[in-house]
């Protein structure tokens, strides 16, 4: 236990000592898994280096753009999964829901002639409604979410077949829906977007930092803010550069990143997000603090359903069709594995929406790289399984260490 007094006044002499302490703390946090995102970035870099050594096409602009397009659908589903995992729950129905909602959208658009916007809205609304019902059943009757959503997994798969009817496969040719996954912006537009992102981030970060300093909240040290700004700027510039080297910035990736940023904002910066963390950490404490625990649970499952629908619609747009296999196969498991690999805890209360992006990139890179190397699916699954197991073990070890530390 450190004897540092609560930081109330501006730090003078103690400042240097505190920074040194922070560095040590940061390293420990990375190792022990609290800053799992940093750890997974290293893991991702390692994977990329391995594949690049084996196959020089891996880090080409074309392939990286392709990789990002491959992961958007799954990543969007994972965004909702992150919320569910933060509660310490699981939603096994998201794969089936994504297929069903994409089918609903397609049938409404193709067979009933609905406008694409209305059809997309109807698909998302269907996903939200399904999630809401599942969340209600889970929270109201205290049925484990595992079971409720397992029932959903089966039922919505059946509903998908029902909605598709005799045809089995329905092709999508509406330009608006197809455009979701097949629109690319020109180089100029890409750079303008990059500039807007960097300037906006710089303003928000700078203003936030100034507010903290004015309020006298101890950390007068701008280095972390500047480092973060530089990282964001570099990543943005490199991403736009890579995309421009191929077909330009894809709309699908923009949508994905926008959802990640937006949902991360909600979960980290709003009262609702704080309550999600609280319920995931200690639901009894949350209840006593006056939080409507069941309301939070229903809202989270609604979000998961809606995000599953959005991911399913994106997948349909990329495939240009929905069929009986939509939302099936390993989609569900990979959508859950992604955030876990990237550090969102299965035990609830720890994680970030960024893990949806990072995890999808890890899984997508393994899959994409092995395809490039023409390795069989057998090896691909085994490697992905091994990475997931490793990530879960790290999570469990981190949890054990936290507990021993907590009792210290």
């Amino acid at each position: 236990m450190s004897a540092t007094p609560a930081p109330a006044g501006p730090p003078a002499e103690g400042a240097e000592e505190k920074i040194a302490l922070d560095v040590k703390q940061q390293i420990r946090r990375v190792v022990q898994g609290d800053l799992a995102s940093v750890r997974v970035v290293f893991g991702l870099a390692l994977i990329w280096i391995i594949f690049q050594v084996q196959e020089p096409r891996f880090l080409s602009d074309q392939n990286l753009t392709n990789l990002m397009l491959q992961i958007t659908a799954i990543g969007l589903i994972s965004v909702g999964i992150v919320y569910v995992l933060l509660l310490g729950e699981i939603d096994l129905s998201v794969g089936a829901v994504s297929g069903l909602c994409a089918a609903i959208m397609t049938v409404l658009n193709v067979k009933h002639g609905w406008s694409p916007y209305l059809a997309i809205a109807a698909g998302i609304a269907a996903g939200a409604f399904i999630g809401c019902v599942q969340g209600f059943l889970f929270s109201r009757f205290e049925v484990p979410s595992f079971v409720v959503t397992l029932a959903g997994l089966l039922a919505w798969q059946g509903a998908l077949l029902q909605v598709l009817g005799q045809t089995g496969t329905i092709n999508i040719n509406d330009p608006k829906i197809v455009g979701l996954a097949n629109t690319f912006y020109s180089d100029t537009v890409g750079w303008i977007m990059a500039a807007v992102v960097i300037v906006a981030y710089g303003l928000i970060a700078g203003l936030g930092f100034r507010r903290r300093v004015t309020a006298g909240l101890a950390d007068n040290n701008p280095v972390p803010v500047i480092v973060r700004f530089v990282v964001v700027a570099v990543v943005t510039i490199v991403a736009v550069y890579v995309f421009n080297g191929s077909r330009g910035v894809p709309l699908a990736v923009l949508i994905f990143v926008a959802f990640v940023v937006g949902m991360e904002f909600v979960v980290k910066r709003t009262g609702f997000g704080r309550h999600v963390f609280a319920v995931g950490g200690n639901d009894e404490a949350a209840r006593r603090a006056g939080i409507r625990v069941n309301g939070v649970r229903v809202a989270v499952f609604t979000i998961a359903g809606a995000m599953a629908a959005i991911g399913g619609i994106m997948a349909a747009s990329r495939l240009l069709a929905v069929n009986q296999g939509s939302g099936g196969n390993e989609l569900l498991l990979l959508a859950i594995a992604g955030p876990v690999i990237a550090g969102t805890s299965l035990f609830g209360g720890r994680g970030s929406v960024w893990t949806a992006l990072l995890g999808a990139m890890v899984i997508g890179s393994i899959s994409n790289g092995m395809d490039l190397l023409s390795l069989s699916s057998a090896i691909k699954y085994m490697v992905t399984g091994g990475v997931l197991l490793l990530a879960v073990l790290v999570d469990a070890i981190a949890k054990q260490q936290r507990q021993t530390r907590g009792r210290a």
């Binding site: 236990m1 540092t4 930081p7 963390f277 609280a278 950490g281 404490a285 603090a289 209360g349 936290r402």
Partner: protein, 265 residues
């Protein structure tokens, strides 16, 4: 009200659970700036009394006065609204959240002028208030942003107490605040209780540990089998007397008749 009026005054409180008379015509009072140690054996009715004040149980009979006015406390929110805060033994903290988030849990501050849609948390204001509150209480925590799960038992207890103070209560009830704490941590928590008294709060401390109670309490109130069996000034009584009142045994029983003082009965 005269200045002598107790902040919180219970008269003739009875509570029955089935055939068990958990509280039998108990009179209890706390004044501003006073620490009352509530002691008694297991099953003596301490928890029932606290739950009655906190609004978790409603009494079968008796009256509760707060600042001289008769009140009814039907649910926990009533107690909170009156200004009665309770810190339960299990603390009810979220280990995965930091000190600031725990303090403001369920009553987060929202930044002004951001708009209703985004409802962004005002972390700066919350952290600022947390820092002020904790330094006023001289609570030492490595960082306001450290997760509560990483804190020691004493620090967690202090965080829980500090949280109860955010609502500006007038009475704070602490359930076994020093249970399972080491010696230095117990000392920290007792120091904190003294500072609550200095702030003019009425403090009720439930404890099994008589040594701790004697260190911090102005008055010691003993329950035995649902009855008030002693109400002592802590400076005017020995530990043996209190033990005798708790157990109902020994020669303390005889002296006890003379010892009760300042009883509300």
């Amino acid at each position: 009200m005269s200045p002598d009026t107790p902040l919180l005054q219970l008269e003739g409180i009875s509570k029955q659970f089935g055939p068990v008379q958990a509280l039998d015509r108990v009179d209890f009072a706390v004044s501003a700036g006073e620490v009352v140690g509530l002691v008694g054996d297991n099953g003596a009715g301490k928890s029932t009394l606290v739950k009655t004040i906190a609004g978790i149980n409603s009494p079968d009979a008796g009256t509760i006065r707060f600042e001289g006015k008769e009140v009814s406390i039907g649910k926990p929110q009533d107690a909170v609204d009156l200004g009665i805060a309770t810190v339960y033994q299990d603390l009810a903290l979220c280990d995965n959240l930091d000190v600031v988030a725990n303090l403001f849990l369920g009553r987060e501050l929202v930044a002004p002028g951001v708009g209703t849609v985004s409802r962004q948390l005002d972390e700066v204001a919350m952290e600022h208030q947390t820092g002020e509150l904790l330094s006023n209480l001289a609570v030492t925590i490595p960082s306001l942003r450290s997760e509560v799960g990483t804190l020691s038992g004493g620090q967690r207890q202090q965080v829980a107490v500090a949280r109860s103070l955010l609502g500006e209560p007038k009475v704070v009830m602490l359930d076994e605040p020093t249970a399972a704490l080491g010696v230095p941590q117990t000392k920290q928590v007792l120091e904190l209780i003294r500072r609550l008294r200095e702030r003019g709060l009425g403090v009720v401390v439930i404890s099994h540990n008589l040594a701790d109670v004697f260190q911090v309490a102005d008055r010691i109130f003993v329950l035995r089998l649902g009855h008030a069996s002693g109400d002592f000034r802590s400076t005017e009584v020995t530990e043996e007397h209190v033990v005798a009142a708790i157990t109902g045994l020994g020669d303390g029983n005889n002296k006890q008749a003379a010892a009760p003082k300042e009883g509300t009965a």
